[in-house]
Subunit: 240 residues, 2 copies
């Protein structure tokens, strides 16, 4: 085991998946690992480039963006420490169907396709685990939640906060929640399918109503119950 292995400590998804595989295979994987650093704004991988391996975010944050066949750009996920990226394209033997851009400075572990696939061939249980993981990964589908038409920007913004709660929110002694978001207004707009100006206006509204307070990229939510209440202003939907 490499002495630089910080992935286990940080709850790396991949390390959880390969737990229990024979030590020899594990070491082969470890040896093949490459660690890269990306600065804010850099692309970790790009859509339509070949998927040559599996990326695992050790530190920092990244955002996944998809450009469809007609040129529409859609951000659909924020990736945090420990999370894997790009495995869908890897197992699909396809080029990357999304781009990953560093939101903050990132340290990224990279495992080459050959060594990963080598382990898969000798360890069938691992294939099952990846199948399981892939099946539960909703991928770009998360984005749907955030861009249903007829849901106001204000509510979509609240949805985003709720989705990011586990990864970016922390509870303060007074029971309020403090977010430290790695996102600019523009990024938020990309995620909820809106424009920076509209994001600002929605923020003003939420502050006016005392639901959430934004200072720079920190968000303070005094009362989570009120945030949930906002989300429940969902449009009554019809029978189909």
């Amino acid at each position: 085991m490499s002495s630089s292995n910080a992935c286990q400590a940080s709850g790396c998804e991949l390390m959880q998946l390969v737990s229990g595989v024979p030590e020899f295979e594990f070491n082969v994987l470890e040896m093949s690992r490459r660690v890269d650093r990306f600065e804010s704004g850099q692309d970790i991988f790009s859509q339509n480039s070949e998927a040559t391996g599996l990326h695992c975010l050790r530190s920092g944050h990244a955002m996944l963006t998809h450009v469809d066949a007609f040129g529409n750009k859609t951000a659909f996920r924020v990736v945090g420490p420990g999370e894997m990226m790009g495995y869908r394209s890897l197992f699909g033997d396809d080029v990357h169907t999304a781009s990953a851009r560093a939101l903050t400075s990132c340290t990224v572990c990279f495992f080459p396709k050959v060594s990963l696939f080598g382990i898969l061939d000798t360890t069938p249980i691992l294939v099952r685990r990846f199948l399981h993981t892939l099946a539960r990964d909703r991928g770009p589908a998360d984005g749907l939640l955030l861009r249903s038409q007829h849901t106001p920007v204000r509510v979509r913004l609240v949805y985003l906060l709720l989705i990011l709660l586990n990864d970016y929110g922390s509870k303060l002694p007074d029971n309020s929640i403090e977010y430290r978001l790695p996102l600019k207004r523009h990024d938020i707009g990309s995620l909820i399918g809106s424009r920076p100006e509209s994001v600002t206006r929605a923020i003003r509204e939420l502050e006016h109503d005392g639901v959430a307070f934004f200072r720079h990229r920190n968000v303070s939510v005094p009362d989570m119950a009120r945030l949930f209440a906002e989300a429940n202003i969902s449009v009554a939907d019809d029978s189909t």
Copy 2:
């Protein structure tokens, strides 16, 4: 091999996947198959119900719909003959994350989880194939294409036609395309994130411009090039 096996003839996805597996395992799977019939409007399976097996559409058409945590309903896929449904939830050991509703009368093959998983355990190559299939299935992500904000309903409708081209379009002698859609206006609206009235208006526009002509649920496209031209009126996107 069961004499009622019509799946192979119709190019069933599952049958392609299990091609080449040992005959004994194949027969076990075949014996466990159940064939059900659903009428238009009936649910084939429902979101949040347990995923007890794999569904394979033999004939007819169905639509997959997802209701998110906040009650927003989103249709994201039309399923046609030969296509599998519900395998994502099956392999994720999760309840169904979508509902499947019959658009027309449907014949559905059902393979119980136990017999399918039995084969997976004895045939590792099959797990790899499912992994591959799952990785390439964009699932609800298809929906993203159809509901990017700031894309007019008219263009989203054209996107839908292009997506459904392979499955529902046929080329006539005069090089025009004739669609036979199993969708009502309401369904189209669900798929492109719009309302039946808006769908009608968009249809009127396309007819006015001679791009496509809708009669009941049949669509005639005299010149595919013009349809593509419509789609390329994509909004110029900025650098992020």
